[in-house]
Symmetry: C2
Subunit: 142 residues, 2 copies
Amino acid sequence: MTNINLYTKKLRESGLRPTKQRLKICEVLFSSEKTFHFTINDLTKIIEEKLSEKISLATVYNTIHAFKKKGYLKEISINSDKSYFDTNITDHQHFFDEDKSQLIDCGDDEIDSVNVKRNITGKKIKSIEVLIRVASDNQNQN
Amino acid sequence: MTNINLYTKKLRESGLRPTKQRLKICEVLFSSEKTFHFTINDLTKIIEEKLSEKISLATVYNTIHAFKKKGYLKEISINSDKSYFDTNITDHQHFFDEDKSQLIDCGDDEIDSVNVKRNITGKKIKSIEVLIRVASDNQNQN
DNA sequence: AAATACTTTAAAACTATTCTAAACTATTGA
DNA sequence: TCAATAGTTTAGAATAGTTTTAAAGTATTT
């Protein structure tokens, strides 16, 4: 019925032991077909609601970092007090709704690919991140 | 000799009182022809080195925020524990050297302008930020 | 089943930033 | 010019997100 075997395999294959906590987090993150964005705070709330047992905050951080390192999650750059993560690991860009502090995926067909003409000597491009900040029209900005 | 009168005028015109502290920070930030990037920590270090008297950390924060609000500085999004600021307030993008945690300006001629084809209903684009992360070739990323 | 290595945990520590409220300073206007 | 005022600076406390610690627990290996 569940994807537990799948996640167990996935974790083992990447050298992570399939613990109860990691499997639960996998379920929360990867069992929906839709990808989504979350902060650690969001995630702990979801876990609290969906779970009978608690997962320590440190474990949530550990796991998210491990998953990011393995490429199962992406971290998104927003100048902000907190980090955002994305379960959509394909190459794509984001809108950031400043009114709601909410990320919105920007499909490949919705933005032209960015063409960088300059090369930094001895360096390789690791990623190109575009963030389109939006806010409602009637914003006072002073 | 100095630009103090200039800064005094600039501050007064934007409704900020030209205090000793603000004028000193203006000198540090705006007296060189070259623009540059800095963190609050960088700035306090520069101030400590160049100044006879101390400026309180809270004042540095206050001033930088005031200057940003007035458009004299830009804040740059890097997923990070700290904020980066830029004295170059023209529209431009950045490389981020992950080895040195250092920003590098990307000139308009070095990147094609980003074309966004999608519109978020009721929202206006406030900014389009591109961050090109670079690192040395021989990086182990696991 | 014992040994090993990895993982979880609560709590402490840490870092960047913001807040507080009292002292201070620039500006206003009589 | 001088007092009233409004804005500013300050040290230190507070906060928020995140990381570290070290001990207890669990999965894996032998």
